[in-house]
Symmetry: C2
């Protein structure tokens, strides 16, 4: 049994017992019933995930994975592919948006080369970027599969390895990505997995594609799906045929986090595509996902429906890098504090009848 | 000229110059255009409010005001009036929800007796609660005005005095309230100021009024408005006839914060009613308000429309006390960090054409 299968075998659903205990505790707090709403929902999730009434959340770690996409050659992005490498380099210099917001969140940051099309050995050799490169970018899925099935497995297992390595020092995982063209792969993944016929309903402008070029992107994704015919019931097939290396790595990170009973905070459109792959491989993994924000991309609600997730907030973010996941960390801390520190009716001068 | 008039005279609109400078800076950041969405909108507001490209936000102070409401005698609440005093006492013992979330936000907390119906001198004498009591609760506005016009002015001026006192040590104000029955006053205020005929569209269940008693609340508010006929163009008249002492105090806090060019974070339904009063007294004060969350109360969207505000998040909160304002503080810090620390195109290896 390979690492992927053994990891999936370790993933159990959230603990119903701890969800029930957490719910009972919250209902016994000396305030109007469930009056902190989704903060309490989040607290119940954290208890169910960690099997604890005082979920540990202090040690946060955001993993940002970079990878390139062959479909860029079809004109789906205004940015040249080299931007994936350049922005990843910026991450190592503390310049990326996620560097600022990870520090703000009190989160450690690991940058991973899952498949940048270019040489970043100066960064991996110095330890600033983790080397999990599967290949120098995917092939364009308009002309054949983006990657082989073996590469898809390798990408997911690389993500699992990272989660395994970090799990001993991490309470909460966060996810981010960088990859020019990766909204195209993400749109293809949701189209296939949700069985959406009209591709245009899940394709959007990514980092700022001009409206007049949107049809090019729609056509490229449509033809790629028709050519490759990914099997929606086989998530590795979907990942391999229309996905990306960083998407596979992030799916693996989720599985590894779930196997270790750690919450993993999903960011926006691309990380949610990775969540769809993880969910396809292991439905119980969804219980470990915390959806930070709702993306501006029109395909995102379709993804959330498949995962049965509701974002914590909508801030019109469309930057990626894990910025939304970083912004959610503060709410996770708040959820644990209200769970563990608020007074119950017994501890208070307020009676339940009085509220 | 009294304190109210002199304070209103000091309030200027947000600075257009700083809004424009902030916008230009954000458009020059080496990321896709405006890709942190509402976090950037918030940054522009903070710059326009503080007249600074690096808005000071470190020193946060949440002011929670308590007051009682005579309309409780009409059966509009399940909670007895004594709960206002009991919960206010809990605040001084660190037990209130806002105590936990203010600490989480790194915010100082001031508790104010604006009009608790009962003796809290043991708390005001020891300095744990600020004594600004106008009276022992309002009269029921089903039988006449809730307070005199002089009391309404006194309540607002008390809030101004608190803002004046705290302004030297505060960068960001937050607002909270406690007052059994104060959703009824808040519904009445929005009904009057928005000219809403069908009162039922702005009346909801507050802290958990059973559905079968909602009609009692609707009828009480409706008859109170018909009896008092508050003038929507005279905010002091509205406050006096159907408002509450803590609502008046909070309106004053907003005016004082605005006069000192400090942002003030609005919480939920009741604090937004106070914002309507402040806006009615001084339309430019709205520029200093930051709307934290969208309340569960059905009247809240009507208020936000009058103020032209969009909440930062919706978390199904209905606790009050300033809990939503506290949760927004982290986003304010984040907005300033991205404003001041992200790399511009000049500082980056990315060209604008490359993005």
């Amino acid at each position: 049994m390979g690492l992927l299968e053994s990891t999936i075998a370790k993933v159990e659903p959230q603990s119903d017992e701890y969800r029930q205990r957490a719910t009972a505790h919250i209902l016994n707090l000396a305030i109007p019933r469930w009056s902190l709403g989704r903060v309490f929902d989040l607290a119940v999730d954290l208890c169910g995930i960690t099997r604890s009434m005082a979920p540990p959340v202090a040690r946060k770690h955001i993993v940002v994975m970079s990878g390139d996409h062959g479909i860029v050659s079809a004109g789906v992005s205004e940015q040249p592919q080299a931007v994936t490498r350049l922005v990843t380099e910026n991450f190592t210099q503390g310049k990326g948006s996620i560097c600022i917001l990870a520090e703000h969140a009190g989160a450690d940051l690991t940058i991973v080369d899952m498949g940048i099309n270019g040489d970043v050995r100066h960064l991996t050799d110095s330890g600033k970027v983790l080397d999990k490169k599967v290949a120098n970018g995917t092939a364009s899925f308009t002309q054949g599969p983006a990657m082989t099935r073996a590469q898809a497995t390798a990408a997911v297992e690389a993500g699992i390895e990272i989660a395994e390595k970090l799990a001993v020092e991490t309470d909460v995982f966060g996810m981010g990505e960088m990859g020019i063209g990766n909204t195209s792969s993400s749109s293809a993944i949701v189209a296939v997995m949700a069985g959406i016929e009209d591709i245009s309903t899940v394709v959007d402008r990514g980092a700022g594609l001009p409206l007049e070029k949107l049809q090019v992107k729609i056509d490229a994704i449509k033809s790629g799906i028709e050519l490759n015919r990914p099997d929606p019931d086989d998530a590795l097939d979907v990942l391999g045929k229309v996905g990306g290396f960083e998407i596979g790595g992030l799916a693996g990170l989720i599985l590894g986090a779930a196997a270790h009973r750690k919450p993993v905070v999903i960011d926006g459109f691309i990380t949610t595509a990775a969540a769809l792959i993880a969910h396809g491989l292991c439905p119980d993994a969804a219980g470990y996902m915390i959806q930070s924000h709702g993306s501006m991309e029109r395909g995102h609600p379709h993804m959330l429906k498949l995962l049965d997730k509701k974002p914590l907030f909508y801030l019109d973010l469309r930057l990626g890098e894990g910025t939304g996941a970083a912004l959610a960390m503060n709410l996770i801390d708040a959820a644990v504090k209200v769970m563990t520190r608020m007074a119950t009716f017994e501890e208070s001068n307020i009676t339940e009848e009085g509220l």
